[in-house]
């Protein structure tokens, strides 16, 4: 610890050292400062971007397509693209993630295969998102020929990326259902599937929803996979089929951030960043609302 050297090592014999009140109090404040430094930095940056976005983030910005002039540029296609993408990802990951979690928690034997799947899922959660982008490029664009940067390819790619998170959080929710409830259901003569459908899933659903929605919050900010699957840098229309090329807010931010003009750097991009953050916060708030409602219900 840096504090230790500041106060000098007067004690040579014992690892416990001398009892120093000053050192004790100083360390407490150093630790508190360390805890706050990240939070405060982020708060400052958010305040900066919010101030910069003032005057740029308006109705015109939200409803216009991108434009070479910063004063006419808008985020509409990217905003719609992001929301369409998120809905598609929700449709794909929710059944697959919950299904996998049910298998691992309710059916799997806990043997070698189950442990292997479990370790594999944990590892998939740690694979860099840019690598998932390569998977999308090689598999969905290259092998299956679903087209560069289409809504479908983006949806599949990012779904695979967040699936491990959905599975892990769903498993936790299912594991939290007391075993007594399952046994009570079996005791009434219910089959395994009936028990899962009527007892386990309803009880675990708030937790599953919270985890899935939080994962969607992560999905909406993903940029690297979109770049790798060849999502176009600028799209002027909203997607009208699964095979439309789509833009998404993070992709648009990345594109605009490379423009050298000050109006883009401290105006348009700030507005786009705030838009993305607002959508991101809205998604997370929904998740937190569900969690709070659920917690209150169990307390009663």
């Amino acid at each position: 610890m840096s504090v230790e050297t500041e106060n000098g090592e007067t004690d040579g014999e014992s690892t416990f050292g001398t009892v120093s009140r000053t050192r004790d109090v100083a360390f407490r404040y150093v630790a508190l400062a360390a805890t706050l430094v990240g939070i405060v930095s982020l708060a400052l940056l958010l305040a900066n971007v919010a101030v910069d976005a003032v005057g740029w983030l308006d109705w015109q910005f939200l409803t216009s397509p991108p434009h070479p002039s910063p004063f006419e540029a808008g985020i509409f296609p990217a905003l719609v693209g992001s929301i369409a993408l998120m809905l598609l990802i929700a449709l794909i990951t929710f059944p697959l993630g919950v299904g996998a979690a049910i298998y691992l928690e309710e059916y799997a034997s806990g043997g070698l295969l189950t442990r292997f799947i479990q370790i594999n899922i944990a590892n998939l959660a740690g694979v860099p998102s840019v690598v998932y982008g390569l998977l999308g490029l090689g598999l969905f664009v290259g092998l299956l020929n679903l087209g560069f940067g289409t809504l479908l390819v983006a949806g599949f790619t990012i779904s695979l990326l967040i699936l491990p998170i959905v599975i892990i959080t769903s498993q936790e929710a299912i594991r939290a259902v007391p075993d007594s409830q399952r046994q009570a259901s079996y005791g009434m003569g219910a089959t395994k599937w009936q028990t899962i459908r009527n007892v386990v899933l309803p009880r675990a659903m708030p937790g599953i929803l919270t985890g899935t929605i939080l994962a969607l919050g992560r999905a909406i900010g993903e940029t690297a996979p979109l770049i790798m699957i060849g999502a176009p840098t600028t799209v002027f229309g909203v997607p009208n089929s699964l095979f439309s090329k789509i833009s998404a807010m993070p992709m648009q931010i990345y594109t605009w951030a490379q423009y050298p003009e000050t109006e883009f750097q401290y105006g348009v991009v700030a507005a786009a960043a705030v838009t993305l953050l607002v959508v991101f916060l809205a998604i997370n708030s929904i998740a937190i609302l569900i969690r709070n409602k659920y917690q209150q219900r169990t307390e009663q």
């Binding site: 416990f16 982020l42 590892n123 090689g138 699936l163 840098t233």
Partner: protein, 307 residues
């Protein structure tokens, strides 16, 4: 399942079996994903290594995939990644560890209930926004007293560091909270202060969990893409250890940023640059995969200690 399992399994009903198979397929999809990742990376990487020898790739000191004369040495990219990893670790490891100590040993329940979610936010902000912050706020702010390039490793490292703080702090805190209270009480009984208990008892007892969090955080820093692609620049260069300041003040290129650069350009599907993308991806995947495994191994060894 407990020993008093009363379940009639689906063997007797068609629907029960069908559901079981369906759910099993969902779980096996995760294995398929891993297989698909490895195969996609390998297939194109093998093609690449037919054109560029693996030795040239792994030992070459020049990376120029699209501009003549083309060169495919991965070392400049690895050194760029190392700079970012080292820089972000210098920020996140001490801060994350101190945060974990504070949360586990000092903070009141009320404070912890506020601080923990606030810290989690740090890890969940979209990284493209962090990259933008680094480029338009951090770099100009540091530029007032440091001779910085527009794109530099320093502000990218700081942003990556802030992003991975919660990864260090939350796993380390879990490990510290798992240290039995009896150890703390014994130490207090000997007249130790809270500082001594925290640093000489709790931290050593939680060491494997702390190491596990460090490795995981470093793995995340290595794989981080958008922050470095936006703020650290696109200049593949070897680390010049004789010029320590220059390491961070100038533009570099990481493995991930190089992938983004090729991915965003219009390289033809069968070109060597396109294949090289997968070779770099394979290298990145191998590094992070091994680190994640090591982290898990360290953590699982730790778990057995106090059970």
């Amino acid at each position: 399942m407990s020993t008093t399992d009363l379940s009639r399994d689906g063997a007797r009903s068609v629907r029960g079996t069908a559901m079981r198979v369906l759910f099993a397929l969902c779980a096996f999809l995760s294995i398929l994903t891993t297989v698909a990742i490895v195969l996609t990376l390998l297939l194109d990487a093998v093609d690449f290594f037919a054109a560029v020898s693996p030795i040239e790739f792994l030992t070459g000191t020049k990376w120029s995939p699209t501009n003549e004369p083309v060169a495919f040495g991965v070392l400049p990219l690895v050194s760029g990644t190392l700079i970012i990893t080292f820089g972000s670790a210098a920020i996140a490891l001490p801060i994350g560890l101190l945060t974990a100590i504070y949360l586990s040993e000092y903070a009141s329940d009320r404070r912890r209930a506020f601080l923990k979610p606030a810290l989690e936010v740090l890890a969940s902000v979209p990284t493209v926004i962090y990259g933008y912050f680094a480029l338009v706020y951090v770099t100009p702010a540091l530029d007032t007293f440091l001779p910085l390039s527009t794109f530099n490793a320093l502000s990218a490292s700081i942003m990556v560091g802030i992003m991975i703080i919660p990864m260090v702090s939350s796993i380390s805190e879990d490990a510290m909270s798992a240290v039995p209270d009896s150890l703390r009480q014994a130490s207090y009984g000997l007249g130790a202060t809270k500082f001594t208990v925290s640093t000489s008892v709790v931290v050593p007892a939680a060491l494997s969990g702390i190491f596990s969090s460090f490795i995981l955080a470093l793995s995340r820093a290595i794989g981080e893409t958008m922050i470095v692609a936006i703020a650290a620049g696109q200049t593949p260069r070897m680390v010049d250890l004789t010029d320590p300041a220059g390491l961070f003040l100038d533009s570099i290129q990481t493995m991930t940023a190089a992938m983004v650069q090729i991915g965003a350009s219009d390289v033809v599907g069968q070109s060597t640059a396109y294949k090289g993308l997968f070779a770099v991806g394979l290298t990145l995947f191998a590094i992070t995969f091994v680190m994640n495994l090591v982290s898990e191994w360290v953590a699982s060894r730790y778990r057995e200690v106090y059970r």
